[in-house]
């Protein structure tokens, strides 16, 4: 078991390293010179050279990459002398446009993004599993077909179209919800809830649709398993057959996939936060695209990759904990 975990950890580090390298290459090779952008219109070649030296981009590629990597673990300093800027570990870079370390920018916006993500995740997991179970129980009946129609719709509607439609319908036309406005939970919990309700729904709908289909398929498939027949042949009550022999095998893969999808939420948050004007990491990334603030884009990309890789790892470990076949097989 320990060897298994160690192997996975090592694999994770390798993937993260490659992700760093890959991202770094993209920005190093492809993007226009940031020094020119920072310098502005009235710029002398000397000033550009100075900025380059401060940013460290006058160095060869591997030196820069190494500085970046060490910055992640030990922090780094941009420039020298009185103008030097400290970037504490884990240093993901420094945004000269907003004069802030990228790590700090991310940390500041983390609470909003986490609120959006957790709320949406709870919503889609509950809706997806409930919808899937209902569908499976009523297989082929009206409820099943109705839910199938809903899931196809939910899977097909782009989240920004849904966001705008909801906002137009619930806020402008019906007036059920106030215009979104940043309010702290402690100040006005009701208002806070109203603010986050639409982002949660928008982020959750597509996932809920996928989970509904997954749950339905898994439950129906599990009910066909021979061991369910065995359980019934033993004379167990239908409730017991369902709880022990159908639900656990059917829901186990869903729990594990949930881990990965949750870790991958940042991509969806980008659009949702932008549409609703929520000041989270996603909106920050979207804004940086418009402003071409590369250190921020790169920082968020690395964060997203980190989350996905760690999510995968957690899921793998979780899987060994809940599926006896994997658990025992790997220790042997």
């Amino acid at each position: 078991m320990i060897r298994f975990v160690a192997n996975r950890l090592l694999g994770m580090l390798v993937v993260l390293f490659l992700v760093c390298l890959f991202t770094f290459v993209i920005f190093f090779v492809l993007s226009p010179d940031p020094a020119v952008q920072i310098c502005g219109k009235n710029c002398t070649p000397e000033a550009i050279d100075q900025i380059r030296a401060n940013l460290g981009i006058d160095q060869p590629f591997w030196t820069q990459f190494w500085t970046f990597l060490t910055g992640l673990f030990a922090g780094r300093t941009y420039g020298t002398g009185p103008n030097a800027i400290d970037c504490a570990a884990p240093c993901l870079g420094y945004s000269f446009q907003s004069s802030q370390a990228v790590t700090d920018m991310i940390v500041q916006r983390l609470p909003v993004s986490a609120t959006v993500a957790v709320g949406a995740a709870v919503l889609w997991l509950l809706a997806g599993v409930a919808g899937g179970l209902l569908s499976a129980v009523r297989e082929g009946r009206f409820a099943d077909r109705f839910i199938a129609g809903l899931t196809l719709t939910g899977m097909s509607i782009p989240n920004y179209v849904l966001a705008l439609s909801l906002q137009f319908l619930l806020v402008v036309t019906l007036g059920w919800l106030p215009f979104p406005q940043a309010v702290a939970f402690s100040d006005d919990p009701v208002r806070w809830f109203q603010n986050f309700l639409m982002p949660w729904i928008v982020l959750a709908v597509g996932m809920a649709a996928v989970y509904t289909r997954l749950t339905r398929a898994n439950v129906i498939e599990t009910l066909q398993e021979n061991y369910v027949r065995t359980a019934r042949a033993k004379g167990l009550s239908p409730g017991l057959v369902w709880r022990r022999h159908a639900l656990r095998p059917a829901l186990t893969p869903i729990v594990t996939i949930f881990g990965m999808d949750f870790a991958g939420l940042l991509g969806g948050a980008l659009i949702t936060e932008t549409v609703f004007g929520l000041n989270g990491i996603g909106k920050m990334a979207a804004d940086s695209i418009t402003k071409n603030d590369q250190p921020v884009i790169m920082g968020v990309t690395l964060l997203a990759a980190f989350l996905v890789v760690v999510g995968n790892m957690v899921v793998d470990l979780l899987y060994t904990a809940i599926d006896p076949r994997v658990r025992v097989g790997s220790s042997a």
């Binding site: 398993e225 021979n226 061991y227 027949r229 065995t230 359980a231 019934r232 042949a233 033993k234 004379g235 167990l236 009550s237 017991l240 022990r244 022999h245 656990r248 095998p249 186990t252 599926d323 006896p324 076949r325 025992v328 097989g329």
Partner: protein, 278 residues
Amino acid sequence: MTDTLLQVRGLTVGFPNANGPNTVVNSLDFDLARGGALGIVGESGSGKSMTSLAIMGLLPKGAERTGSIAFDGTELTALPERAMRSYRGDRIAMIFQDPLSSLNPYYTVGTQIMEAYRSHRTGVTRRQARAVAIEAMERVHIGDAARRVDHYPHQFSGGMRQRVMIAMTLSMEPELIIADEPTTALDVTVQAQILDLLAEIRADTGAGLVLITHDLAVVSEVTDHIVVMRDGDLVEQGPAERIFTDPQAPYTRMLLDAVPRIDDEIGLLRTMHTEEGR
């Protein structure tokens, strides 16, 4: 108490669909004496498995069952589902073909043996149920049962898994054991052991046995009465010896011709036949 443990009359199973009923078992009659052993033989699709599921009341959705199934004088087809449940596992137990897929991979074999026992007997503590499970595993000759009881199905070999399945039925001391192709998924050498075990259990407990198989060689060793089925119809039935020595129906003769003569070495016979069976 009657001498006949199981009496089946006019059993018909069909799947009604748009083109009319699709009959898979067609008015089947047979009796099983208390403590007797009956073999139902036929090729795949002959309706023999549907017969066993019909007795258990476990037919798949959409199936229609008519006719009479009397178990120990009780008409099973008239029982409501709840009452039928108290028969399943407790008085009538079933062993399935593929022991790996028939055991839930998420629970230890002990849990799966105990679960039936605890749901049929009220006021049983975990500890008592566990003791019953271990004892049942010992009775089917699983070595080191006290430790193996906490293992998961995938940690057992095919033959051992089938022993677990048998232990599961044994723990309840059923009066009737229905075994549906219990050896088909197993290696040849293991098949003989499982058949020996079934015979031993029957001798020990006096339980009746319905053995369902495509393999005449299998029934020849264990059963005393044989029912031959084809495409849902009863081809012929009679004492095992008579079926082997003097088959009436051409189809039975054909099945027998596919098997090496009965006076050959039983082991050899089994070997040759199962290779073609799966």
